[in-house]
């Protein structure tokens, strides 16, 4: 089965997931992002790479942060940006997802940035476009259900590479609600593809997917044990509705076992970096002292995120 996000020449035409992408493609995106980081430091923060192109932010699930970073990225590439917050209302109006897409294609969309609550929705759109010969229209997955958030995964990889240079000697721990996390899945695929020797996931059994070991990670339930010797610690957001119920007794008990404190962090390597995809729950998954501490690279992640999204959009629209 051909990877649905590559064209016949093996070039990236959609970005749906990091799973199955060749290492060179991932490295290529990271390399392409580097010059875009410095653009942010210029007085004129624009390049004309996507001039005349239309980027449709197609958000079926609410998100301010991700949508904004995509919007900034597209505008810095001189694209026209159209934001569509469709939420749950489109289905109540009776229009199917693919009807919506066809209508927007008729408005000459070049890139769809898609956020959807269902795993696989961007794949469905990309397959639909491919099947109808609309290979000039590209899909970027901005987060689908629990499945993937590939641009977040790429910006995490960019951040790690920025601070650690290489992946082949690293131990990376991903902590918290891995079960519901598309961020974790994308990062795991990215890290294993680039040859990271040890990727760990840390959490209670209720928040880890059943067969997570099959993704090539080591599983820890004791956070102290899992953090020992780590170069990178990635904290995941715990959704409010999951803090109390069948998965967890309380946010307080979660913080006691899996919240990142200075004390626990001291078990990692001294030059460890701490990451978080945001938005953070201070006092639930991460202590403020750590979030704002000298090991935290949470804000640089956001900056790199814009550059990585510029790289992705300019690459796929060029292929």
């Amino acid at each position: 089965m051909r990877n649905p996000q590559l064209n016949a020449n093996g070039e990236l035409t959609h970005l749906l997931t990091l799973e199955g992408l060749p290492p060179d493609v991932i490295r290529g995106i990271l390399d392409a992002a580097t010059p875009f980081v410095s653009i942010a430091e210029r007085e004129v923060k624009k390049v004309p790479l996507l001039r005349g192109k239309a980027v449709f932010n197609l958000f079926f699930e609410n998100s301010t942060r991700t949508r904004t970073t995509f919007e900034i990225a597209a505008k810095r590439l001189s694209a026209d940006v159209i934001n569509l917050n469709i939420g749950a209302s489109s289905t109540s109006k009776g229009e199917t997802l693919l009807d919506t897409v066809d209508n927007l294609v008729a408005m000459d969309a070049d890139i769809f940035v898609v956020r959807h609550s269902q795993s696989g929705a961007p794949h469905l759109i990309a397959a639909h476009l491919n099947a109808h010969g609309r290979t000039h229209v590209h899909v970027v997955n901005a987060g689908d259900g629990r499945h993937a958030h590939p641009t977040q995964g790429l910006l995490d990889l960019y951040t790690i590479r920025h601070y650690k240079r290489e992946f082949h000697h690293l131990t990376v721990a991903i902590v918290g609600d891995v079960l519901h996390s598309r961020v974790a899945r994308s990062l795991i695929h990215g890290l294993t593809t680039l040859g990271t020797p040890e990727v760990r996931v840390i959490g209670p059994k209720t928040l880890l997917p059943t067969a997570v070991q099959a993704m090539g990670v080591r599983v820890f339930h004791d956070m102290r044990e899992g953090l020992r010797g780590c170069d990178v610690v990635v904290m995941l957001r715990l959704q409010n509705e999951r803090m109390k119920g069948a998965l967890l007794p309380s946010a307080g008990e979660f913080f006691k076992h899996y919240g990142l404190t200075q004390d626990k962090l001291s078990l990692a390597k001294p030059d460890v970096i701490v990451m978080h995809p945001g938005p953070m729950n201070r006092g639930v998954e991460i202590d403020s002292a750590v979030a704002d501490g000298d090991r935290s690279v949470i804000l640089p992640q956001v900056t790199f995120g814009i550059a990585v999204r510029m790289a992705v959009m300019s690459m796929i629209a060029g292929n």
Partner: protein, 424 residues
């Protein structure tokens, strides 16, 4: 009309026949096998050299989508598909809209089916009113109207006391229950087997326990009530082991598997292929191997199509939102043959799973070619391979994960009560 099906390989599992011979049909019934009856003069002779002459297939689960779901399929389209697939008797589950919980609905369905003069249709009645799990249906009336068994389709029964009472009531009158073991709670939000694929794709999982817990409940209540239960659509290795033990214990249970579960596993979901969204879900390769072994050793009595035509709109949505099910009437024979070839199962043993064994469940006197039986016959070419494509399917539902696959076994002729209902 006298028909001679000449020199084919007659395979009749129930009567232990597997030899090259001619089959003689007169007045809608099997008149003779082998030697022609005295004074035989055929109106029509079919040259069946190189072909297999088998009893018409009996399918214990085929959704015809009537009443209420005619946008998915109609009786006309699906009966046509049945004939093209060599299926001459089928049982349809009660998950129509409204469900088959009143004699009038059952009579209407039987009447509509009869008027088409194709496959025999045997409705399975709803066990509870509206399939809501609260009130028993009038099983006596429904049986008189033509229901061959009672089932709760794919709707989980929450109330185990009601299940126990339903079993007691059914066993009083000898009504069989056809039950798919499914827990109402565990994995209720799931859409795929709780394994590596669901983990990778971020799909909510359905663990095996969702089936085995309900199965254990049913078996315990069968032990108490003595009711005859047919267990529908097993999907897990553990379930096969449990049924094997139950049969050794002497419990009056039989079971079936959907034919797609003999070939596919969760890996076949690929990149969110909604045609592989099935109920129960496609499970691991280990489960699939156990199901195949279970059919081969007879633990699993019956293979069915679990035919579920779904309109394209209901599949062209994200995986978890897709209507589950696959079209199957035309694939029951090819996929059963494919399994038999791959696992070295003799043709007669394989055909028993889709003819004589399911016929026992339906109790209609179909499923074999004994002299005097209504001549329901399927004549097929076991060597002919064909590609499953949308255009090659008669069913209104084109939804099958087997699209593009080459399968063995092309049905040449189908006869129902001595009438040709499918021919080239």
């Amino acid at each position: 009309m006298k028909i001679e099906i000449a020199h084919g390989r007659i395979v009749d599992p129930r009567n232990g026949v597997d030899r090259v011979a001619s089959l003689y049909v007169a007045a809608g019934r099997v008149a003779a096998v082998g030697a022609a009856p005295d004074g035989w003069h055929a109106n029509r002779v079919i040259d069946a050299r190189g072909l297999v002459v088998a009893p018409g297939l009996v399918d214990v689960s085929a959704r015809l989508r009537e009443p209420g779901l005619e946008y998915r399929a109609t009786l006309e389209s699906e009966m046509d598909a049945a004939c093209a697939g060599g299926v001459t008797s089928l049982a349809c589950p009660p998950d129509t809209d409204p469900p088959l919980d009143e004699p009038g609905l059952v009579e209407m369905l039987k009447h509509r089916a009869r008027s088409l003069n194709q496959a025999h249709v045997h409705p399975v009645g709803a066990l509870t009113v509206q399939l809501q799990g609260a009130t028993l249906t009038e099983m006596g009336e429904l049986t008189e109207a033509g229901c061959v068994a009672f089932s709760h389709a794919d709707v989980p029964l929450v109330d185990t006391e009601l299940l126990r009472r339903a079993m007691q009531y059914a066993s009083t009158f000898g009504y069989p229950l056809w039950l798919r073991p499914v827990d109402p709670h565990i994995g209720r939000l799931g859409v795929a087997h709780d394994g590596e694929v669901a983990t990778r794709l971020g799909l909510a999982g359905i663990p095996a326990a969702a089936e085995t817990i309900a199965l254990a409940t049913i078996l315990a209540l069968v032990r108490d009530t003595g009711v005859r239960v047919h267990l529908c659509r097993l999907s897990c290795a553990e379930s096969v082991a449990m049924v094997r033990a139950a049969k050794q214990e002497g419990l009056p249970v039989t079971c079936d598997v959907a034919v797609h579960h003999l070939h596919l596993c969760d890996v076949d979901i690929g990149w969110f292929d909604s045609d592989a969204n099935l109920v129960p879900p496609l499970r691991s390769t280990r489960d699939r191997a156990a199901l195949r072994a279970g059919v081969a050793d007879g633990t699993i009595d019956v293979v069915c199509s679990d035919h579920a035509p779904v309109d394209e709109d209901a599949k062209q949505v994200p995986f978890a939102e897709a209507e589950p099910g696959a079209t199957g009437l035309e694939l029951l024979l090819p996929l059963t043959l494919k399994w038999a070839q791959e696992d070295g199962v003799p043709l007669s043993a394989a055909l028993a799973r889709i003819t004589s064994e399911p016929a026992k469940l339906i109790g209609s006197g179909a499923g074999d070619l004994a002299v005097g039986r209504a001549a329901d016959v399927c004549v097929f070419d076991p060597q002919a391979y064909w590609k499953v494509e949308r255009a090659s399917l008669r069913s209104q539902g084109k939804n099958t994960p087997f699209l593009g696959l080459e399968v063995p076994g092309k049905v040449r002729y189908t006869l129902v009560a001595g009438q040709f209902v499918h021919e080239p």
